[in-house]
Chain length 380, copies 2
């Protein structure tokens, strides 16, 4: 990562060079508090997903707010988290390949590490890697609860894998990874709940089968920001893995939000500058698809009614002004809400953390901190 910091403490938003990835610290902290409050009285724990933020500074704040640790998707992300002081990491994903498994086993001697499996060959390779390092590791069987991505089918295939884990020295069978990722952005509450109900039933019956066969299954883990209160109320899930709740991107904002799910606030923004205004109704900003990932839709323009982000090329964002809208001037700065927070964060080396409001003038907040995104680009 680059050591050059993109801003200085004390600067206003107007003074920050662009594009920059900005956190509204007040909203970010309210989001963390909202999650904690939502779960008061529930016997579930939170294991926040660090693939969203890739930043130990944030992980440590989530843990301070009650999370037991974090999830990661990659061994290299987990390494960055442990390096940053996190003591308990679940790689909520399959890890395949001798190089990665050796690194994972070494990491498991420095921190509590969990890993998911969905294939007997993977269990064997993991057992070999752990034995070679003299390590111990928590292992979860991933079951496919409807997302049709990784994971064995619920029921007997999961039991067979649990048996193999139990029989392998160094591996501790901890339970089930049961994440319904494809449900998170289902727009209506009713449709989302229906998908999660199916996931809950798959997890419940699979755990019951494993327990009935004499194997303890202490943890069912899963859930995301778009559904976690359903899993929390299920009596089946023990651990929740929300990630995006801290930032709340434009795609999540298109969901229907109603109780029991709290509505989180946008706290992550791309600060951009108007670099061209060839005609009054067309404004071009210096933030394109290398500054804000468009895989889940274009960014939206924050608090500027009548301005619509309509097109992104590599380094340009085209914004159209509706008739009657006061179009921003050349050099003016705008805040964009990314379409999808996780891959957008992965484009930056630093968060610019602002406290005191997001007005882009002297009444707005100031830079309080710069947090390095140490797991940016952590792919292996």
């Amino acid at each position: 990562m680059t050591a050059i910091r993109p801003a200085q403490p004390g600067q206003t938003l107007a003074e920050i060079d662009t594009p920059a990835l900005v956190i509204d610290l007040d909203a970010f902290e309210r989001n963390i508090a909202t999650l904690t409050k939502s779960l008061v009285g529930r016997s579930v724990r939170v294991r926040a997903h660090a693939k969203t933020h890739k930043c130990p500074e944030i992980a440590l704040r989530q843990i301070a707010a009650g999370a037991v640790g974090v999830c990661c998707q990659k061994v290299s992300e987990a390494e960055a988290m442990v390096e940053g002081g996190v003591g308990d990491v679940l790689v909520s994903n399959e890890v395949v390949g001798a190089q990665k498994l050796a690194r994972l086993a070494r990491l498991a001697k420095r921190a509590r590490i969990g890993i998911c499996v969905d294939d007997p060959a993977q269990v064997a390779a993991l057992g070999d890697a752990v034995a070679a390092e003299g390590a111990q590791i928590d292992v979860y069987v991933e079951i496919d609860v409807g997302a049709r991505r990784c994971g064995v089918a619920p029921g007997e295939p999961a039991l067979a894998l649990a048996r193999k884990i139990v029989a392998t020295p160094g591996l501790h069978f901890m339970g089930l990874q049961a994440y319904q990722g494809s449900a998170q952005h289902v727009r209506t509450m009713a449709d989302r709940r229906a998908k999660i109900d199916a996931a809950i039933e798959a997890a419940r019956s699979t755990r019951a089968l494993i327990v009935a066969n004499g194997i303890a299954c202490p943890i069912v883990t899963g859930a995301g920001s778009g559904s976690f209160m359903f899993e929390a109320a299920s009596g089946v899930y023990d651990e929740l893995q929300p990630g995006s709740y801290i930032f709340m991107d434009a795609d999540y904002a298109r969901n229907e939000w109603a109780p029991p799910l709290p509505r989180f606030e946008h706290s992550l923004f791309v600060l951009a500058t108007v670099m061209s205004r060839p005609v009054p109704e067309r404004i071009v900003v210096d933030a394109g698809l290398k500054a804000s990932s468009i895989d889940s839709g274009l960014p939206t323009v924050w608090n500027r009614p009548g301005l619509e982000f309509t097109r992104a090329s590599d380094e340009h964002g085209v914004i159209e002004a509706k008739p009657g809208t006061l179009a921003p001037a050349l050099g003016e700065k705008l805040l964009l809400v990314p379409g999808h927070c996780d891959p957008t964060v992965n484009l930056y080396d630093w968060y610019v953390c602002v406290r005191g409001g997001m007005q882009i003038d002297s009444s707005g907040g100031k830079v309080e901190a710069l947090w390095p995104i140490t797991a940016r680009g952590a792919l292996t």
Copy 2:
């Protein structure tokens, strides 16, 4: 950027950990040679676009093959190129904001630098920045030749800007930036040619107007990998800016290619590993949208008929095997052709450069070099 190298010289593709961004050096060098050969006998020069690769190692090879220098889209990219030894850089884009203009002016004291403008206020600010540093800079007026992004309208507005540039100390009016970006991926040759013909006419008439008003207009620059032979034959364009020709992504491959345009070869790949195979017809690789940008379509699977990449999430790629296809095994490696090379490159810190063929077994090539992507994440 991370100092940890993702591979070692001498390794085979099978030995490289994944995901990794791999260059087939043989195909890459053939692409560079193909461009050079295509322009034999034409009085146009090449200024290769470095936004594609963000790597001085590649820029120096393009210059060695005849390019006069490179284009960049951002000041920070230009800084990385100059730092890497490139002596002539055109920022083929507008630059707005005092911080960036000061950096650009400082850079113009270390190398020959060009910049585009499309607004009188930008010319004034550039003049101030250049004067403050005692620098000199080449300036091009960007005209909108059909892409509806940046650029003034052809004709009188361009002449007015040229006059302002000529009147500003330290600024050298060099000509017109006339890039028809939206034509590059128009699928049929005929439709693409029609769009470029309109761009050529806009550039021709605008230059004629400027010259008729007593202002020299030495360079018309523009063109991309999808159209450059049309501009080369126009008698209007003096300089071509192709970028993607070195790599040739999956989206460009969907274009119709016919003479006079040469068809380039795929030379950029994402090496991925099968991390899960829950059912025989569904394979999950460890390369999702954080490993291969999907803004211009999903990646394709290289040289494996019957395998289709159908879905990407952050860190997963789902590949479906058509009936009768031999599906790859858990742990097997596959090569993906990125949908769009530029934003995919921007996800990595290193190219792993392989020579001797892309077979993923002992008959294939070996890692010859690792090239750092020093302008990765260069957004400002």
